[in-house]
Every structure is written in C-alpha cells, then in structure tokens.
Symmetry: C3
Subunit: 159 residues, 3 copies
C-alpha cells in the first residue's frame, strides 16, 4: 500500500470537486488527463463525454450563475495498480437547483474512477458513476438562497 | 501512529457502507467478524443484534427493493490499540425513505466502533451509534425518485 | 509530504466538529489555539471572533438545547508548511434548525484553515469559510425531530 500516492489521489479528487462547484475552468484543466472519459448515468440523464476540452465546456455550461448546489465525495477506496495507474471508488452526495428551470435534484452516487500519473502528477483519467438514488422535484416556489457563490463570484471571486 | 492500519480500517468502513447501501450480503460477510455486535440507538428504534448471520439477515430485510437511501460516514478518528485491535469514531449522515410505509428519516449519528484483525484482515467487531438528531416525516406524497439502485439491481446489478 | 502530520490534522478537525455538534466546551478548549481567529462569512451573518475564550463562549450560546443540526467536513486538502504550521481546505455541509426562532439553515461552505503545533499537538489557529450556497427557510411547522442530542445530553451525556 503506497500511502503517499493514495493521499495524493484523494487530494486530487477533492480539488476536482472544489473546482467543479466553483466553476473554476483553469483549475479543472490541471486535474483531468487530456483524454479524460466521463460516463455518468443518472435517472434523468446519461452524461458521456471524452477529452478535456469537451468535458470542461460541458461543465462550464452546466455550472452557470443561476445554478446552486454542491457535490461532496466521501468514502474513498483507492487502489494503486502501478507506478502511474490507480483506481478508486467514492460515494457522492449531491444537491442542485437550477433556478432557470426550477428543478431541484438530490441524491447519492457510487463512483468508479481511473487515475493516471502524468509528468509526476496524478490526474483523473476516467470517471463513471451510477446512482444509488436520485430525487427530482419541480419547485413551485424557489428556495430562499441567501448565498450563491456562482452568482457572486463575478464581483467577489476570492475563495 | 500506524498509518497503513488506519488507511485499511477507513477502507473497511467505506466498503461496509457501500455493501450496506447496495444490499450486498456477500460483501457484508467479508467485513464483519463472526461475533459482530451492533447497538444502534435511534429516536424511534433501538437496533441491537449479535452475530454476523443475524446482523446480515436484519440488514437484508431492511434494505428491500422499496427502500431508498444512503448512509455516508465522515470524520474518522481511528486509534490502533494493538496489532489486532483498534477503535474508531465516525459521523454518519443518513437519508432514507421506505416507500412501503411512506416514512422519511434523515439525520446524523456519532459512531463508536471496534475493529479486529482476523487472518490478516481488519473487520468490524463492534459498532454502536447514538443520534445527533433524527427527523421523521410521514409523507403524504411520495418523492419523485428517478433512480433507485435497490429496485433496479435485479435487472442491472453492475456497479 | 508528511503523512503522519496530515492524519493528525484531519483527526484534529474531526474532533473539532464532534465537539462543536455536541457542545463540548472542554473538548473545544483542547483543539483551538489561545489566539484562534474565526472569520465565517454566511449569507445572513458574518461571524468574526478572536481568542479561544470568546470563540467558545459564542459557540456555547449558539449550540443551545433547542438547536438541532450537524456540521460535517469533507474533502481535506492539507499542506504542511513547516514543523509547526500547516494550512488546509475543507468542504462543510451543514444543516441546522433553531427551534426557538423556527429558522432552518442548510448549505455548503469552503473552509480555509491554518494550524499550529503547540507543545507537540496540532491545533486550529485560524479558520475562515465562505459559502458555496446557503438556504434559509422560516418554518411554519417545526420538523418532527425524534432525537436531539443537545436536548437530551443533560440527562444522558454519554456518547
């Protein structure tokens, strides 16, 4: 068991989630391989994409200023396969409201990832998940959100 | 501090939660000691059981195909006591809806566990929790669950 | 990368959250430096305080017996800066109901912490967060809480 590699991969995934929820495209570029593959199977969507530019473009469009939510990963099971490859399982709990459509989505997912070490740094090479459950509600009344980072960052980006 | 033992115990607990939420009885057998003791004190229940067969039988009955939810553990404080014994604290956040009864339960718990190394592998030997809080609602209208692993796994088990 | 220091700091933060949610003032004293600085920017509040006595007094007042909730930290990114200083990022997901006012608050935050090693033990020296999002609801009907640690601990403190 290579504990240092495992800790590096945990921090990689944690950075990814932070960059995701803050719509930090420059950050996302540093954590994905150039040929990253995504395969996320929800109850109401199947998000498949390949290549860092495509993935980041889709994420940027989804995490717009009227999107509110968080994606939190837990329960890592990281296995180092070789000096430059590893795999991992995680649980995701997610909460999201798209204020443009009024849809609220929450639930939990089970991730399976592959990681590659590129120029000495671990990156996410493949990421897939399947839902434990997904709950979708069309809100008649939007929630009272008293803070929304994605709406406020244009004028106050620091975090 | 034995970091490798700590990481093994974290992964053990993470596997346990994954096997629990996916009702994977064969998996659960590999993470519990034969004489596992459970003592979970909720606001509306007190779940006590002893012995792996009894515990798994109860869990299988609870995590039926009309059960929806997730159990996520966080904030481990693992202490290695000897070469083959350890203890740990965790926080649990849980969400569950039983579609047969219409009850929704959510909340958070504080775990205290004991672990034993058996034939070179760490296993859960004792697990107890007490609630930080528990919220129970009888739902008049069931949520719109657009994905439910426990209902779908009979035809699509892979995860 | 000093894995043992990183693990110690993770456990420090985990203890802090456990002491916070159980309103354990004696525990909180052991995890904060004497000159701890707090700067928590919510959507409806800006909590700034300095000095361990002041911080604990404010937390004790907030976590009263009619307060219900949990504060869960995830996704640590710990960096050791020297033998006695470190910094860390975390995500917080929080849920709280104050039964005295009927306000429910939930959301997620991004933490930035500083840690100092004092007499051989890591402690939290500075902690700040900003919200990813905050949702505040004035409840017409209070939730059915079937367990509440802070209300019950006077007669049953063990955890």
């Amino acid at each position: 068991m290579s504990l240092e590699e495992i800790e590096q991969i945990k921090q990689l995934k944690h950075r990814y989630c932070r960059f995701l929820d803050t719509a930090n495209a420059a950050g996302l570029e540093t954590v994905l391989t150039e040929d990253i593959e995504i395969d996320y199977l929800g109850g109401t969507y199947h998000f498949k994409a390949q290549g860092r530019d495509e993935v980041i473009a889709i994420l940027k469009a989804a995490f717009h200023e009227d999107f509110v939510g968080s994606h939190t990963v837990n329960q890592p099971e990281i296995t180092i396969l070789s000096a430059d490859s590893a795999e991992g399982r995680w649980t995701l709990t997610d909460y999201a409201v798209d204020l443009r459509t009024g849809y609220e989505t929450s639930g939990a997912c089970l991730y399976r990832d592959r990681y590659a070490k590129v120029d000495g740094e671990w990156r996410i090479a493949r990421s897939s998940y399947r839902r434990l459950y997904e709950r979708v509600t069309k809100l008649d009344v939007l929630p009272n959100f008293t803070a929304r980072y994605l709406a406020e960052r244009a004028t106050n980006p620091e975090i």
